[in-house]
């Protein structure tokens, strides 16, 4: 120990040669990451780059296949999250996870409740718990939060702060923050930054994950970029340019994947949206889609892309305002059934929970939205269903043992194709897809893009809503960028993904700061 004190202090966290694969597919290979005490390291990477896997290895959720992790120079193995927490590695997850019906103090101390021991019993020491929580909140600069308040009565930002205090309870050495500002307003985000600056003073190492480049440049000391499960560059924030960081993140445009020739012919406007507003989600969105055209909408999580497609389709009910025209006549979203009747098809982002019906067969999954088409007299004609299912399996190149295979046993890409095939009936003129290739391997992704283009060439209007910037830039004949519920950019085909990404980062509040 005395020896080490003379030399430079070891980094707070040092990860070397980290490797991890799932089912033979390498998700991380030879990844390095170091953070010094009091340093803020921004971790960047597009979807699927391996950020979340790396964080899960660091916090004990996954075990690594290769590599070493050292915390303050001590080699560490975290077989479970509890071990990581004990070693001082704490995670602030993207989704807020607090117990609303418990008090602030209880939430903060939950993992390590102070107890008073008597003969043969132990009781929670409420006073100590309250004092510890109070001290932590003071340390963060939020003495205004009452330790006895019920957490559900706090604002979202205050809940975030309680969560941070919980993460810091005990001896926190490394704090991983995953998109900590995603659900917050700009002023609230500024509070988080204040906290991070205090943590720097206290020599905590912070790993900051965010898609907002402006935030990253404001708060971080260094930037580490992951791409395809490997290190793609480390930058000193002070001397780095946005361009080089984006280039490291996105690589060159993956030309092959999106190199698809369409007929280029477009027809009449199938969908016209003006002033579409959903309170708190979308704010006056205007755009249109013609038959034969693929329009892509890109936005980060929380930008309104989660809402746009389903609002138009009708799945949100009548909670929308603004005007929508479908094939020339006014349409008011009311329910999914009404949207379907008006010729709109919808493929939801969350395939498992909102798309497939896992216990049913491929055939049943395909025909169920328009089941009435297969009814002859009183009964459903299974032979008519099978005939149609086989046609769709051929058309979309779905890899299945046949129409009777149980849906849940298909791969993600093939499940997605089934979800698309459902809507390939004459009456559907507009197909809305959310995150069409999420959880789909690269080979099947290209096939889905080919299919979407083929459908557009047959006159369908296609609207793709996605948080994958390369996807939107790659397949959209035109693309739109959403940010905080508003359209912040409109681009033509061939615009580089970095330009789309940069459009979302144009956040006046951060620019002013």
């Amino acid at each position: 120990m005395a020896d080490k004190a003379k030399t430079v202090p070891p980094p707070r966290l040092e990860m070397r040669g980290i490797g991890k694969s799932f089912g033979g597919v390498a998700v991380l290979s030879d990844v390095e990451l170091t953070v010094a005490p009091g340093e803020v390291l921004a971790l960047l990477g597009s979807n699927g780059a391996g950020k979340s896997t790396l964080v899960k290895i660091l916090t004990g959720v996954y075990t690594r296949d290769a590599g070493t992790v050292q915390v303050d120079g001590e080699t560490s193995v975290f077989p479970n999250p509890r071990a990581a927490v004990t070693a001082g590695v704490r995670l602030l997850p993207q989704e807020i996870s607090v117990m609303g019906d418990m008090t602030v103090a209880e939430n903060i101390s939950l993992a390590d409740l102070p107890v008073r021991r008597g003969p043969g019993f132990a009781m929670v020491d409420d006073r100590t718990m309250r004092e510890q929580s109070r001290a932590l909140l003071d340390q963060l600069g939020f003495s205004s939060i009452d330790p006895d308040a019920l957490v559900k009565r706090l604002s979202v930002a205050e809940q975030r702060i309680v969560e941070i205090a919980r993460a810091l309870a005990g001896q926190a050495r490394v704090l991983v923050m995953d998109e900590p500002t995603a659900a917050l307003t700009e002023q609230e985000a500024e509070m988080i930054f204040r906290i991070i600056r205090r943590l720097k003073e206290q020599q905590v190492a912070v790993i900051y994950i965010s898609h907002y480049l402006n935030e990253v440049f404001e708060i971080s000391d260094r930037i580490a970029v992951l791409r395809d499960g490997q290190n793609a560059g480390t930058f000193d924030t002070a001397s780095a340019s946005r361009g080089e960081v984006l280039a490291a993140m996105l690589g060159r445009v993956a030309g092959d994947l999106y190199d698809i020739k369409g007929s280029g012919e477009t027809g009449d406007e199938v969908l016209t949206v003006s002033g579409l507003t959903v309170p708190g989600k979308l704010d006056g969105v205007d755009f249109s889609v013609r038959g034969g055209e693929i329009v892509g909408v890109f936005g980060l999580i929380g930008s309104g892309i989660e809402t746009l497609g389903r609002a138009i389709y009708g799945a949100l009910g009548p909670a929308t305002s603004g005007t929508i025209h479908v094939t020339g006549s006014a349409y008011r979203p009311e329910s999914a059934g009404k949207g379907k009747a008006r010729g709109i098809g919808f493929v939801a982002a969350d395939r498992k929970h909102e798309g497939i019906i896992g216990d049913l067969t491929v055939r049943e999954n395909m025909v169920v939205p328009f089941q009435h088409r297969y009814v002859h007299g009183l009964f459903v004609s299974q032979s008519a269903e099978t005939e149609q299912a086989k046609r769709w399996i051929d058309l979309l190149g779905i890899r299945t043992r046949g129409p009777e295979q149980v849906m849940r046993t298909l791969s993600g890409g093939n499940q997605q194709k089934v979800c698309v095939s459902r809507w390939l009936v004459d009456s559907v003129k507009l197909l809305i897809l959310e995150e069409p290739t999420r959880g789909v391997d690269v080979g099947a992704r290209r096939e889905i893009y080919l299919e979407l283009r083929a459908l557009a060439d047959r006159g369908l209007a296609v609207l793709v809503v996605s948080s994958d910037v390369e996807e939107v830039a790659g397949i959209g004949d035109r693309s739109i960028v959403l940010d905080r519920g508003q359209v912040v950019g409109r681009f033509d085909k061939g615009t580089p993904p970095a330009t789309l990404m940069a459009a979302t980062a144009n956040d006046p509040a951060f620019n002013a700061a």
């Binding site: 009404k338 379907k340 929970h353 909102e354 497939i356 009964f379 459903v380 046993t409």
Partner: protein, 333 residues
């Protein structure tokens, strides 16, 4: 289009033959059938009276009203619902017929129609609370069970009312080709429901709605209407079961049907219908009803006390539910 990239087929089966068998959708019914045959064999060896036409018909009559309720309960649970009030409705219906006919002199058949309408109404109320207000069906129908049982006791002051009307009692005691009418009626209902579930649009919606309610809503299926219809159907089935029971007993006993609720639910689950919805068949339920009825009958013939019969029924149910859980896992996450 290019098919150069070949995705690996779904995960290869590296599990043992037993799990592979369990993973097949039909495995449940096959196992139930084997178990039923085994029961028949064991009881024929144990008692000379068991395998007689007379005894088989007795079993048929005894299980009919339970089977009627379980038949309608099956699609309801497949669609993600649950009805705990069905047996209480059966009790109320007998009483209502006895009161309308006996105390107010209403025509017996008109009284029967009114009583069945009442069953449908109770089912509709269950449906409204669960689909519109999105309350948990367990709570709603538990409350309804209490209300309906209480109402039946209030109507008769807790007493059993005689209900002996020529013609009407035939429903419970009559025979066609020497076969008791109640099991025939039950079988007809099972066949009808099987056709509806397998061959009609409504049947497809039942499985889709239970298999994934959110996906069903997003592809524009009438999720709430399907569930509503099934609650009404369950209410009607409770009413018809009550009518059969009263006709069979020649009396309306307000609390006669209620203890059989557990048997109804047990039969549906034992029959392979998943409590999580989306999976199940009425034929599995029918086999389970037969098994539970046979178990009851065979144990009675062998002088096993009814207390031990309860224990046996519980053991069989828990085994079946455990198997269902293993099956769910074998089918893959």
């Amino acid at each position: 289009m290019s098919t150069a990239n070949s995705t690996p087929a779904a995960a290869g089966s590296t599990r043992g033959p037993f799990l592979t068998f369990l993973g097949r959708p039909s495995s449940g019914v096959v196992m139930l059938f084997a178990f039923y045959i085994l029961l028949l064999l064991v009881f024929s060896l144990l008692s000379p009276f068991f395998m007689t036409v007379r005894n088989m018909m007795a079993i048929g009559s005894n299980i009919a009203f339970i089977g009627l309720m379980a038949a309608a309960g099956t699609p309801l649970i497949i669609a993600g619902g649950l009805d705990l009030s069905v047996a209480a409705i059966a009790g109320l219906v007998g009483v209502v017929i006895a009161v309308l006919h006996g105390d107010y002199g209403m025509n017996i058949w008109l009284a029967a129609v009114v009583a069945i309408g009442l069953g449908a109404l109770v089912g509709a109320v269950n449906g409204l609370f669960t689909t519109r207000l999105r309350l948990n069906p367990l709570i709603v129908t538990l409350g309804m069970m209490s209300i309906v049982s209480g109402a039946a006791l209030i109507l008769t002051g807790g007493l059993t009312k005689p209900l002996m009307v020529q013609g009407f009692n035939w429903i419970g005691q009559g025979r066609i080709f020497d076969i008791p009418f109640p099991p025939i009626l039950m079988l007809v209902v099972f066949i009808a429901l099987s056709i509806v579930l397998r061959r009609t649009r409504f049947g497809r919606f039942v499985y889709a709605v239970g298999g994934n309610p959110e996906a069903s809503r997003l592809i524009g299926l009438p999720v709430e209407r399907v569930q509503m219809a099934l609650y009404i159907l369950s209410g009607i089935s409770g009413a018809v079961a009550g009518l059969v029971l009263a006709a069979m007993l020649g009396a309306a006993a307000p609390a006669a049907a209620a203890p059989h609720l557990l048997t109804v639910i047990a039969a549906i689950i034992l029959g392979g219908t998943s409590l999580y919805g989306g999976r199940g068949s009425v034929w599995g339920t029918l086999l389970a009803v037969l098994i539970l009825g046979t178990l009851n009958n065979g144990l009675t013939l062998n002088d096993v006390s009814s207390f031990w019969q309860d224990v046996t029924k519980g053991v069989v149910l828990m085994l079946a539910v455990s198997l269902d859980q293993i099956r769910t896992r074998a089918l893959g996450e």
